[in-house]
């Protein structure tokens, strides 16, 4: 098994996780013995990732910055088999959810996770959640600096933060190290964008108050350029201002985006900067040695440049059309010549988006060991990524993925759908999401057609909490409940990629569940008939506006 090329726990990190498991074991014991009421137990289990869902407990496991070793992925498979029904669900926040955990098993499941330096800490609750990053980090051509170094620094600072464990509401941070933002930093409570200024210094743009949910808002710049060593002091200042002044009177108005929206970013900035000035030269200032020690652990794997044009690859392209399409949609350029970043699609035709069985997880772990330096990433689009694959190995990787059912050539295409768990699992949902995704996926399964339609992101949420990010889908689909009937509201023109964050606009009245596919079909037909060369669906929409789409959809359904 190759060495890992990301942060490795030391004895400090391990002790803390082990002690946490024992603390939770005692809390579960007290709950089962009736010493704790459900109300008292709830925040304790939530900060350990344990939710009570519609049918059972759900365990949300943190995958910090979406990076996994093959060993960790095998352990996740093992846990899914031992404590669940043999599969798991990768989420839009780069986490893994197990949907059928028993309360009395939860401490053992956490102990098993701790064996591979993993946990479910802070995957829920009103605190700083698992920090997310670009899933191409450390491999992307356009990267200025690996954002995971900073995710890890924040992971440590935020873990069991004594002051910020009972915030007004949850707090999500995302970091990108590339100008082409793949981490959706403008729709997070705090987004951090690494950039290089005129003096050739790399620092952060700090963005605050973005978010989806009931009140979708695009984040505003709090600080144009923050020197890297001041990151934790600045975050502490921001969180302190939020903890003191964020609203707590209404669950739906408690995120920092509402504070920013109501008092204005200027006022928030004034408070944060004043707080920051008081603490910036204190113990939170990062020592260069501390940054270096963590950065060193993210040193890229020692890949040697290789051939970029490989005869076997060229031959297979001509012979196997699906492979040729897969190369186009499921591979991305790697910074080392002769290598590629491969996305394994967890969206085969008709499957629930983001699900993987234990066997599939182990299969991916094997492929990663053999062809991708033992490393796997989880993308916020609910796919798995093999970040370091040699171009000459692409035929073998493709075949291995195909055996697992994860070689669908649909990344970024109409069937690469993001969907929340929806009413099938979630206690909050108003409508089902997964069956809608499955029907669209089956309807558009033909790969050549998908590639003809081109880049088109469909995002589905089963309620206005927007876990399926429907606001930023090129086509967004939101499940609503009208007098006990599940209806779906369609919005167009959302976008979250490459820094052009835009929220979608509602097209018209919600449609019935059995009309969603026809509606999407009508949208696609409108696009295909009116597009200009090189235009994506969302580009055509921006050019011609909603009306032609509207006419077609409501004429058709």
């Amino acid at each position: 098994m190759p060495d890992t090329h990301f942060y490795r726990y030391d004895d400090y990190d391990r002790s803390l996780i082990a002690e946490r498991v024992e603390q939770f074991r005692d809390q579960v014991r007290r709950r089962l013995a009736g010493e704790l009421t459900e109300e008292q137990f709830k925040p304790l289990r939530l900060t350990n990732g344990l939710y009570l869902q519609l049918h059972a407990y759900m365990l949300r496991i943190a995958i910090p910055y979406g990076t996994l070793s093959s060993r960790q992925l095998r352990k996740l498979a093992d846990i899914a088999r031992r404590f669940d029904r043999g599969y798991g669900h990768f989420t839009t926040r780069q986490n893994l959810q197990l949907n059928w955990i028993k309360l009395e098993d939860a401490p053992d499941a956490l102990a098993a996770l701790a064996e591979v330096d993993m946990h479910a800490i802070q995957t829920s609750g009103n605190l700083i959640r698992n920090v997310t990053a670009d899933h191409f980090a450390g491999a992307a051509v356009d990267e200025i600096e690996d954002p995971r170094i900073w995710c890890e620094i924040i992971r440590q600072w935020s873990t069991f933060h004594p002051e910020f464990s009972f915030l007004p509401r949850k707090f999500k941070i995302a970091i990108t190290g590339s100008p082409n933002d793949r981490a959706a930093v403008r729709v997070h409570d705090v987004g951090l964008r690494l950039w290089r200024n005129d003096q050739d210094d790399v620092g952060f743009e700090v963005i605050v108050g973005g978010g989806l949910g009931r009140t979708p808002l695009i984040g505003k710049t709090l600080r144009e350029f923050l020197p890297k060593e001041e990151l934790l002091a600045y975050l502490e200042a921001t969180l302190r201002v939020y903890n003191r002044y964020g609203r707590r009177d209404n669950l739906y108005k408690s995120r920092i985006k509402i504070l920013v929206h109501e008092v204005g970013v200027e006022k928030v900035r004034e408070e944060v900067e004043a707080e920051f000035a008081a603490i910036k030269d204190g113990a939170l200032k990062l020592a260069p040695e501390t940054i270096e020690a963590i950065a060193r652990q993210f040193a890229p794997p020692p890949l040697r440049p290789k051939r970029t044009r490989v005869p076997e690859v060229e031959a297979l392209k001509l012979e196997d059309r699906d492979f040729a399409l897969w190369l186009i949609s499921n591979t991305a350029p790697h910074r080392v010549p002769g290598h590629a970043i491969v996305t394994a699609s967890l969206k085969p035709a008709g499957a629930p988006p983001g699900d993987a069985s234990a066997v599939q997880m182990e299969g991916i772990a094997d492929i990663a060991d053999r062809y991708s330096q033992g490393e796997i990433r989880v993308s916020h689009e609910q796919n798995l990524v093999l970040p370091h694959v040699a171009i000459e190995d692409l035929p073998a990787v493709y075949k291995a993925l195909r055996r697992l059912g994860f070689a669908e050539a649909n990344v970024g295409k109409i069937t690469d759908i993001i969907a929340c768990p929806g009413l099938d699992y979630c206690a909050l949902a108003n409508a089902r999401s997964i069956p809608v995704a499955q029907r669209i996926s089956l309807h558009f399964a033909e790969l050549a057609r998908q590639h003809d339609i081109g880049d088109l992101k469909i995002k589905i949420s089963g309620c206005i909490n927007a876990c399926g990010h429907h606001h930023v889908g090129h086509i967004g689909i939101l499940g609503v409940d009208k007098n006990g009937v599940e209806l779906y509201q369609i919005s167009l023109g959302g976008d979250v990629d490459f820094g052009k964050t835009t929220l979608g606009t509602i097209l018209g009245p919600a449609v019935a569940a059995d009309k969603v596919v026809e509606a999407v079909d009508a949208l696609v037909a409108t696009y295909l008939e009116t597009r200009r060369t090189g235009e994506r669906f969302v580009d055509t929409y921006r050019r011609i506006g909603a009306q032609p789409f509207k006419d077609r959809v409501y004429g058709a359904v």
């Binding site: 990190d13 002690e19 009103n126 440590q156 069991f160 004594p162 002051e163 903890n243 003191r244």
Partner: protein, 153 residues
Amino acid sequence: MALYREGAIEPVADEGPVPVAFAEWLKDGKAPAVSLANTDPVEALQPHLGGLSLIVLHFPKFSDGRAYSQARLLRERFGYRGELRATGGVLRDQLPFLLRCGFDSFESEQTGFGEALASARTLFSVVYQPTGDGRATASQLRLQRRNVRLAAD
């Protein structure tokens, strides 16, 4: 309501001065004990901290964490050294956080609170955040280790 302090498993007697409400205290800033709502500005206490021996901070619900920030500001920014008491929604599982933020007395009716208090500082052997409790953080310990290693080489 039972009052707990570190060093005793059993509740202790409340023999200190009776705290006055913040609005009352503000009139002359002379009372030795004050009780704050979690929306009251701790900054207003700063000029008078020398005359205070007890500050009571309130948790309307255990899930409302504003008083943690008030506590750290009092201890770390303004240098308050008197008693800092947590009241209201104070549960044993919050103790590691409360202690790290500088609280040193607690009102609670929860069973097992005194036992939990006795072990709360050692429940976690590692901390990641620097706070006024002075515990060395993991990254400070790593730096020390590194320096020892470099010195040995």
